[in-house]
């Protein structure tokens, strides 16, 4: 009951609330909300939408995990955006320029991506630890620099090559591809979606069963108590940020190794920012994040259907924003109510005992 009330009720209420809000917005703008939402739901069954949602969930999930690791200790890694971009370019360049046995090749690319992501995250981490630079600001700046670096690296006089009007890194040889699960006309699920699931499990185990996870959470809840308990705050910042960056580095691996095999100008942006929102939605809990990622992916992909019924697709972004805001408000309210209830219960039980 407690779990139901504390963990599931807030997001459910928040989704309802924002659906209501968007419904009103739709009515005001003269559209039929029932038709719009109906189109979104029925879109799931169309073509490859379901598979797209699953694939996209995987990508968002990785991004959100990266963010969540930082959040666990109140470290705001706004830089996932830049970390996955730099990691993607370097990994794609690396993958395209070596040939290794199948399996090993893909693994090497993944490792490179993680290392590069971690290295990019190491800069703000080191600045924070040694110079006290606020990570929110430094990671935002690093995002800009990541764009510049990526652009430089794919220049056709550096590592890139021209393809028509596109520009991309050399294609990764087939030995570096990660095959997916083909569902025929419904699309292909990326093999690395399972990497996302694996990361989620690893994250759960780490947070709940290991000393490191405990120290991370302790630092997040009270830096001073953690310090007195022997947790080295600087070390934690460094490790958490590197880990976060390493996971961020994997964000685009499912797509690159499963479908694109290169980094090119169509590279999607903004996944890092979605990751922040999703981590918030999921309360940094691996299950919650999975749910958040799924919801996000659903809104994204089935939002395409809105074009068909003449509703501006932007309503989806409004919905995403309002869900995040109302979820955090709902969680906060529930948290307070629960704490008060618990104190009251403790008081009552002690009264009864004495």
């Amino acid at each position: 009951m407690g779990i139901l009330r504390g963990k599931l009720l807030p997001p459910a209420l928040a989704i309802l609330f924002s659906a209501l809000l968007c419904g009103i917005a739709l009515v005001v703008s003269g559209a039929n909300p029932a038709r719009a939402f109906g189109a979104m739901v029925s879109q799931v069954g169309q073509g490859t939408t379901l598979v797209d949602i699953i694939n996209s969930t995987g990508t968002y999930y990785i991004a959100a995990l990266a963010v969540a690791i930082g959040f666990q200790m109140n470290l705001f890694n706004i830089g996932v955006e830049g970390q996955y971009r730099v990691a993607a370019v370097v990994a794609a360049v690396f993958g395209g320029s070596v040939v290794l046995p199948p399996g090993l090749h893909a693994l090497a690319i993944i490792v490179v991506a993680a290392l590069v992501g971690a290295a990019w995250a190491a800069i703000p981490a080191i600045l924070k630890v040694t110079r006290g630079v606020n990570e929110v600001i430094s990671t935002i700046m690093m995002n800009g620099l990541a764009l510049g670096l990526a652009a430089y690296l794919i220049g056709d006089d550096v590592f890139g090559e021209l393809r028509g009007n596109n520009i991309r890194t050399p294609e990764i040889a087939e030995s570096g591809w990660v095959p997916g699960i083909s569902l025929g006309s419904s699309g292909t699920i990326f093999g690395l979606v399972f990497l996302a699931a694996l990361l989620g499990i690893g994250y759960w185990v780490m947070m709940n069963r290991t000393r490191f996870g405990f120290e991370l959470r302790a630092s997040g809840e009270s830096a001073t108590a953690a310090a007195a308990g022997g947790v080295n705050a600087k070390k934690m910042v460094l490790i958490a940020m590197l880990l976060s960056g390493a996971i961020a580095g994997l964000v685009s691996m499912p797509e690159i190794l499963g479908r694109d095999h290169t980094y090119n100008l169509n590279f999607p942006a903004g996944i890092g920012f979605s990751g922040i929102a999703i981590a918030l939605l999921g309360r940094n809990h691996p299950g919650g994040i999975a749910f958040g990622a799924l919801l996000w992916a659903f809104l994204d992909k089935s939002g395409l259907a809105l074009d068909n019924v003449g509703v501006p697709r932007e309503i989806v972004t409004i919905m995403q924003g309002s869900i995040v805001l109302s979820v955090v408000v709902a969680y906060e309210v529930v948290r307070r109510v629960e704490l008060t209830a618990q104190q009251r219960r403790v008081g009552r039980e002690l009264e009864a005992a004495s």
């Binding site: 302790a218 809840e221 108590a225 022997g230 704490l339 104190q343 403790v346 002690l350 005992a353």
Partner: protein
């Protein structure tokens, strides 16, 4: 002192918090122009009552009368208008604002925030002897000065009834005397005081009448000149008082902690926070550190714990040099640590009790195995602590925040005595803890000492310090300046030494010889 209308009458005040009734049917009458003391053990509801009078909290039942007129305060602003001011238990000052800004805040309509206000502050300071420079940032002031600012704040608003919630807790005896002199002169100018203190001799020194609160209700009002401290205390507790006294010495000659020439510099170019500290604690010995807050005790403890990095000097546990190790390694080496602020440093408030058991022990049995936590072990051992230390809780899965302060502290002490430490560093182990919990904690420390534990005790409660310690060292401006023999020293002597007034008694001697003697 006319006997016309009383300044304040509180009748039938009841205030409930979730799970606690802080005040129930409290009655209090304060005559105009008197110093009225309010006594009661921790959590008795004194602060709550005063916050109600000051409009910060709203009574569930009951009425307030000020100068004969019934009032309802929605906010402190209403209370201020009615001439009531409050100096809080914990200072309420903004460090990064100047004294003047702190004083005029909220009362800007009186004299603006500029030169006129400054003049008025200086006038007030002159009239009451509370001198402080209005232009200086509060962060640069010591405790006594901060307290002056707090009182000035209240005066500036034209308060006639002034609530002082434990104003002496952070002061040394000499400063207390100064404060009392100020209060008396202000009393002559017609101010009324409500004065809260746990220190009963102080109450008897300053108060004209005293009201005792127990478990949220008024037990009665007495004339402090007519009752003894002991009688008062028993009114508060409702039973015999425990005492911190340790009977026979258990000191051995095995050195457990040795601190050599320890130094700490907070910021390049500033004066050292710790300066040439030499200290030895032996097995079975309690070494107490006395000192006015802010003289480096906190830093000393945190440097020994490795939370701060020593500038120079060494810390040895037994034969092992800890100087280069981190906090965790020092804990693993056998140091238990009761931090001074349990909320900030001792506990993860929103985590369950068993997770709090893990904190600081995350590398050790029984709560972990290698890199992995052992949840069953942690829970089992938490249950042991709950039982052994009489932590009043319905279970070990409740959040630490749900416990009362005393029970939280018992949990912390229990945790820190787990895993057979060879040294316990206890900072203010009974601060803000009620009498029952206090007795239990004293008892635990005494038992561990008897079993050969070395204890470094920091406390502002001089009775506790004198009662528990085998040796007392006095700390002043980052240095250990004097030693005292707990068998003979009085709190007053200690107080003089703490403020640097020099040794006034045989029981306190300059530290230099003692240190030399040890080498």
């Amino acid at each position: 002192m006319s006997t016309t209308t009383p300044a304040v009458v509180l009748s039938g005040i009841t205030k409930r918090f979730p799970g606690v009734v802080a005040n129930s049917d409290v009655h209090l009458t304060v005559r105009a122009g008197e110093v009225h003391a309010l006594c009661g053990e921790n959590g008795a509801g004194k602060s709550t009552l005063m916050k109600i009078l000051y409009g910060m909290q709203h009574p569930d039942e009951g009425t307030i009368e000020v100068n004969g007129r019934q009032v309802r305060f929605r906010t402190p602003a209403d209370a201020i208008k009615a001439g009531i001011g409050m100096v809080h238990q914990h200072f309420m000052l903004a460090d990064n604002l100047t004294v003047q800004e702190n004083v005029v805040l909220g009362a800007e309509s009186l004299h603006g925030i500029g030169g006129k206000a400054r003049k008025r502050i200086q006038e007030l300071a002159k009239a009451t002897g509370l001198t402080v420079d209005p232009g200086v940032l509060v962060e640069r002031l010591g405790v006594a000065d901060r307290q002056r600012v707090e009182i000035l704040k209240v005066l500036y608003r034209g308060a006639k009834v002034i609530i002082l919630d434990e104003p002496t807790a952070v002061l040394v005896p000499q400063e207390v005397d100064e404060l009392f002199a100020t209060l008396r002169s202000m009393q002559r100018q017609g101010f009324t005081f409500l004065f809260i203190s746990h220190k009963l001799d102080e109450v008897r020194a300053i108060a004209d009448s005293v009201t005792v609160i127990r478990r949220g209700t008024t037990v009665g009002t007495a004339d402090p000149k007519a009752v003894s401290s002991r009688q008062l205390a028993e009114m508060m507790v409702g039973s015999e008082l425990p005492s911190p006294e340790t009977r026979e010495s258990t000191v051995t000659d095995r050195v457990v902690l040795r601190v050599e020439n320890l130094g700490l510099v907070a910021e390049e170019g500033t004066r050292p926070v710790l300066d040439r500290i030499d200290l030895v604690v032996r097995a079975g010995e309690v070494v107490g550190i006395a000192g006015v807050e802010g003289n480096g005790q906190t830093e000393l403890v945190e440097t020994i714990m490795g939370i701060r990095k020593a500038h120079h000097g060494r810390v040895l546990l037994g034969d092992r040099d800890l100087t280069k190790l981190g906090t965790l390694a020092r804990r693993e080496a056998g140091i238990g640590y009761v931090p001074e602020d349990r909320h900030r440093q001792g506990l993860l408030l929103e985590q369950p009790l068993w997770a709090n058991r893990v904190l600081g022990h995350q590398t050790r049995e029984p709560v972990s195995r290698g890199q992995w936590l052992d949840l069953d072990g942690a829970k089992r051992d938490t249950r042991r602590i709950v039982e052994e230390f009489d932590v009043r809780t319905p279970g070990i899965d409740v959040a630490a925040a749900a416990l009362s302060g005393g029970n939280q502290q018992k949990l912390v002490v229990g945790r820190e005595l787990s895993g057979a430490p060879s040294l316990l560093i206890a900072s203010h182990p009974t601060r803000g803890v009620d009498v029952g919990a206090q007795a239990l904690i004293w008892d635990a420390i005494k038992r561990a000492r008897a079993a050969g534990l070395a204890v470094l005790l920091i406390s502002a409660d001089l009775d506790e310090l004198i009662g528990l310690s085998d040796t007392i060292k006095v700390m002043l401006r980052g240095r250990l300046v004097a030693d005292a023999d707990p068998g003979t020293v009085t709190p007053e002597d200690l107080g003089s030494a703490m403020t640097g007034a020099g040794a006034t008694s045989d029981a306190v001697h300059e530290a230099a010889q003692e240190v030399e003697g040890e080498r």
